[in-house]
């Protein structure tokens, strides 16, 4: 097909031909085209079906406000639904498909909805799908879901990547039309750091769509010359294809830069889009204005378009929408469309001007006091019906109709802080109100200054105000000469003739009738109107429709438009792909990984890893002959208890605490006492929250008089540090205490089992016999002939055990040394699963027990809370409610029949008791298979558990559907007297 509607002129490169397809059909266009302009050039007006009634639709606009021409762009994994054809840049090989139609765009089965429109009016869903309730999930929702939405998703992983970034500037200028360019020139020449962002792929804004001269040259040339100057200024950053999507607090703005959307696919390594966070001191909103239509019967046919857009297609893209063009306007600006098209040789069949009287355009059939009251043409406009000033009607053949109901300033960003727009009667539109984002001023059409001269003038004055606030003194310069036509408008919101549907919100299919129905049913407040009719709730946020809807409601209620109110806009200004918000944080790159010092060694051994927060820890280390994880874990447990096992415990938080008041400080943050701890010793510490609940636990060693090293659980390393800083700075601001994390500085391994000392003694340079290095000893040592190291004789497993730490760079070497030296003892390396078995067998609490609900008393550690000193949480741990003698106590659990499995999360029930909440005795917190005991064992919180040792109960789990008879035992399954660890 040839480009039958391509006319002369335009900012396109006719020397290059681009091929593209729409619904499988091939077309051609040129660089500079959008998908919409290229399709229109090819005579294609029908581009989509409407949301609810499946009405045939073509583009209403030539910009990002587009409600109708939504297509599926690209194919395969890159297919993107609901893309506005009016802003999609044409590239060679582009493939697009229409959406929301079946089987084809021209013949759509669902257009049946259009015939049923009487039943599908506003509130239809609320009224219809009410009852019976049982129908909702199985019948109504699936039907609605199938019918809802426009485009479809590929359901494939997005192959593109998205960057994020941060920019800083003195002044952010949103929009690069005459106002934005003038503001940028003024601020840029004065040396300020300027960011000029425009959503379009060409700077100039409306200048590219008009035939106005600026400064004695065509407006497009002036824009290009200005951009050329700005690009030489190192303090000015020009950002094309960049939409400011939201204003946030204190000068922070979000922007989406479409880096690669104009290409078939991003270049290797390049992102598709970049989400920028812009820190600005001042902002000038120069986002221009959006035209609004006039509602009349059947005003949604392909070929009926906003007047300024139809003009833009002619001037910027060299395209006429039809061969016979009519214009319907309530203001002077709409008349420009007729003049520009006529000048380009297009047949302008009539100008229907709703205003009475006044001068007539020369050489054009200019009908004053007339209105368009209906249109014809199933898949595209064929004719319009006009009611003339004398009351007679006339049918005029036309394939395109340009409609102008006036222009709405693009104040969206200015209202992102809930600033209510205010009504400006002179232009019959809302302008930015008070109380918007701080340090934001609007310039040009965005603030209601509609002429080119007014745009240049307010652009300059806004920039001068900003410069003044920044302390830069610059004088105004002479403005380039430009048109300064007044806004001559007599509002007409909707045509009162005819009984059919007149569309207001094209994307959500809201008509004048729907507004009337909302009024009839008393949904007259703006917020109710919006939700009842869905006016403005589509992805275009009602850019073209909202004000008309308000005006109709104002008319019905007899109030003025400002009295009726307005809704504010929300970010994002235009729809944003989810991938853009995710950035690089997806899949395996969702968050960083932390590797332990033994990671490389463990990889070589074929270890199975588990994510613990961001850490990757060894979960278990299977041997070649092991096919089930339990085989590996049972072996690791038994080998440790029999001889010796090694485990990487680097992930535990380590905090270096120094200062002359370090002991006093620890007495504040721990429930038990540390100031009395001897140098060279360590102690288990219990940290409470101020409400008396256990916060964290770990061992803390005293390495010198004023130097301690605290360990935290892996999970709480960050929050404990934060808490310590709070206590240090906010509660006891003059204690002499200094903190720093050393978690990463030391590679730390636990060596546990009867042969632990023998193994370590092979590597440690000093004597570590029990006499020299007793249980709970701690200190600096050296290993392997002089390497600085730390040794702590602590045990989480109940065995004779040590933790040995070396500078992290030697962590890999040390695990290899330990494994080698351990060969004679059949030493094994174990992971987190075995760690869990060992600690549960010993009855030590961990994350499942430190659940943010449990006290020291619950854990059987009540005596650790010293009442002789004021520590965090001590006071409130004494509350009556937390000291119920029949409250939860940590117990051990064994199945009566040792072949039966237990499951964590099961609830304790008395034998014979009904499984109801009132009989709930508590729950099993942690469960493992204990090869030592020869059955499953568990820890749990049981009401009055300490009084129930030896009793039989049941462990009931509704999720697993298990009900197991159990015996309540001491949580210390192994060596309750602690003889092993002191050995």
């Amino acid at each position: 097909m040839t480009q039958i509607n391509r006319i002369a002129g335009g900012l396109i490169d006719r020397s290059t031909m681009l091929r593209f397809t729409f619904d499988g059909k091939s077309y051609t266009g040129h660089p500079g085209d959008t998908l919409a302009s290229a399709l229109l050039a090819n005579g294609v007006r029908l581009m989509g079906r409407s949301f609810k009634y499946h009405r045939p639709r073509g583009p209403l606009s030539a910009g990002s406000e587009e409600p109708n021409a939504l297509v599926e762009l690209r194919s395969g994994a890159r297919q993107e639904p609901n893309t506005r054809a009016t802003v999609a840049e044409l590239f060679d090989g582009l493939a697009a498909n229409s959406q929301n139609r079946w089987p084809s765009l021209a013949f759509d089965m669902m257009s049946l909805n259009d015939r049923l429109s009487n039943f599908l009016a506003a509130g239809f869903y609320y009224k219809t799908f009410m009852w019976p309730a049982a129908f909702w999930e199985k019948i109504y929702e699936p039907i609605i879901r199938r019918a809802a939405g426009l485009g479809s998703m590929s359901r494939l992983e997005d192959p593109d990547s998205y960057d994020k970034g941060f920019l800083h500037c003195d002044v952010l200028i949103i929009g690069a039309g005459p106002a934005g360019l003038m503001a940028a020139l003024t601020a840029g020449r004065a040396g300020s750091r300027v960011i000029l962002a425009d959503e379009d792929f060409r700077f100039g804004g409306r200048l590219n769509a008009e035939t106005h001269d600026v400064g004695g040259m065509p407006g497009t040339d002036w824009a290009a010359a200005t951009v050329a100057e700005l690009s030489t200024l190192p303090n000015v950053r020009l950002m094309l294809r960049t939409t400011i999507i939201g204003a946030f607090d204190h000068g922070i703005y979000s922007a989406v830069e479409r880096v690669s959307d104009h290409l078939a696919q991003p270049l290797p390594g390049k992102p598709r889009q970049t989400l920028w966070r812009i820190y600005s001191k001042h902002t000038i909103l120069a986002a221009g204005a959006t035209e609004r239509p006039v509602a009349f019967e059947n005003n949604d046919r392909p070929g009926i378009m906003l007047a300024g857009s139809l003009r833009a297609y002619a001037n910027r893209w060299g395209v006429t929408v039809g061969d016979r063009v009519a214009v319907f306007s309530n203001n002077d600006d709409g008349l420009r469309t007729a003049l520009d098209l006529q000048a380009k040789g297009v047949d302008v069949v009539a100008v229907i001007d709703s205003r009475e009287g006044g001068a007539l355009l020369p050489g054009i059939r200019h009908l004053r006091g007339a209105q368009v009251i209906d249109s014809e043409g199933r898949l595209g406009l064929k004719s319009i019906t006009v009611r003339l000033a004398n009351g007679k009607t006339e049918t005029i053949n036309a394939t395109a109709l340009a409609v102008s109901g006036g222009w709405n300033p693009n104040l969206n960003i200015a209202s992102h802080h809930r600033a209510k727009p205010k009504w400006l009667e002179a232009i019959a539109a809302f302008v930015p109100g008070e109380g918007g984002p701080g340090n934001l001023t609007a310039a040009g059409a965005a603030r209601g200054a509609m002429s080119t001269h007014a745009a240049l003038s307010t652009g300059q004055s806004s920039a001068l105000e900003v410069l003044d606030a920044l302390g830069v003194n610059v004088k105004a310069t002479a403005l380039p000469k430009a048109e300064d036509a007044p806004v001559a408008i007599t509002p007409l919101w909707h045509v009162h003739y005819g009984n059919g549907r007149a569309w207001i919100d094209m994307q959500n299919d809201v008509t004048v009738k729907d507004i009337k129905l909302a009024h009839q049913e008393n949904f007259t407040s703006v917020e109710h109107l919006k939700r009842y009719t869905t006016l403005g709730m589509a992805t275009d946020q009602g850019k073209t429709g909202n004000v008309i809807g308000l005006a109709v409601m104002a008319e019905l209620t007899g109030r003025s438009i400002p009295e009726t109110g307005t809704t504010v806009y929300r970010p994002p200004y235009t729809p944003v792909a989810m991938g853009t918000l995710a950035g690089r944080s997806r899949g395996k790159e969702f968050k960083p990984f932390r590797h332990t010092p033994s990671h490389q060694w463990a990889m070589e051994q074929g270890a199975i890893f588990v994510e613990v927060g961001m850490w990757l820890r060894t979960q278990w280390l299977p041997r070649a002959d092991e096919t089930h994880w339990r085989q590996s874990v049972d072996r690791e447990v038994l080998a440790t208890r029999k001889s010796v096992g090694i485990c990487d415990v680097t992930t535990l938080g380590k905090i270096d605490i120094q200062g002359t008041d370090a002991g006093t400080f620890l007495d504040k943050v721990y429930a038990n006492t540390f100031s009395t701890l001897a140098v060279g010793k360590c102690r288990y510490g219990l940290m409470l929250r101020e409400d008396g609940i256990v916060f964290d636990d770990g061992t803390t060693a005293r390495l010198a008089e004023h130097e301690y090293v605290m360990t935290t659980t892996t999970a709480n390393a960050v929050t404990v540090f934060r808490h310590l800083e709070f206590v240090r700075q906010c509660l006891f601001p003059d204690l002499d205490v200094q903190l720093i994390s050393t978690t990463e500085a030391w590679a730390q391994y636990s060596v546990a089992g009867p042969n632990a000392r023998k193994l370590l003694q092979k590597l440690v340079d000093q004597d570590i016999s029990d006499a020299v290095f007793p249980y709970m000893g701690a200190g600096n040592i050296t290993v392997c002939g002089g390497l600085r190291a730390r040794l702590f004789r602590i045990s989480f497993s109940g065995e004779l055990a040590y933790e040995i730490a070396v500078p992290t760079r030697y962590g890999d070497a040390l695990i290899r040394q330990l494994v080698e030296a351990g060969k004679e003892f059949d030493a094994i390396v174990y992971g987190t699963e075995t760690l869990g078995v060992l600690r549960i067998e010993k009855g030590h609490v961990a994350g499942n027990e430190l659940n943010g609900q449990s006290t020291a008393l619950n854990m059987g550690l009540g005596k650790m809370v010293s009442k002789k000193k004021d520590s965090i949480g001590m006071t409130l741990s004494q509350r009556e409610g937390l000291n119920d003698p029949n409250g939860y106590r940590l117990v051990g659990v064994k199945p009566v029949d040792i072949t039966q499995a237990l499951s964590a999360g099961s609830h304790f029930l008395e034998i014979g008791a009904a499984p109801v909440a009132g009989n709930d005795g508590g729950w099993l917190t942690s469960m493992v298979y204990s090869p030592h005991i020869g059955s499953h064992i568990a820890l749990g919180y049981l009401k009055a558990g300490d009084q129930k040792i030896g009793q039989r109960m049941r462990a009931v789990n509704f999720l697993n559907k298990t009900d197991v008879e159990i015996e309540i035992v001491s949580p210390h399954f192994l060596d309750p007297e602690g003889e092993r660890l002191r050995g």
Partner: protein
């Protein structure tokens, strides 16, 4: 939001962790005879103003200082930022 750190200057609020009301610094003496009642009020009775609020923020991705930020909870306007340690001292918490 931007928090104008008293030492570091303007920093993005994303770098901070929020805790709550400044009154959390007014921790009672745990050895006082009526300590339980005092701690109950300290921990659980809090104003929730629509308007100016003095609140604690921690500069976790910065210098690890705790700050008292005077912020209007309706407009997000921040009128004052102080080092919590200085505020604690002025509250008489030095001993």
């Amino acid at each position: 939001m931007i928090i104008n750190h008293p030492i570091l200057g303007p920093r993005d609020a994303q770098e901070f962790v929020y805790l709550g009301d400044e009154s959390l610094m007014a921790r009672p003496d745990g050895m006082a005879p009526d300590a339980i009642a005092l701690f109950h009020d300290y921990l659980y009775l809090r104003d929730n103003p629509a308007g100016e609020h003095r609140e604690l923020w921690y500069h976790e991705q910065g210098d690890r200082s705790w700050l008292v930020v005077t912020r209007n909870t309706v407009t997000h306007e921040i009128s004052k930022v102080e080092l919590a340690r200085d505020v604690a001292r002025s509250m008489g918490r030095s001993t």
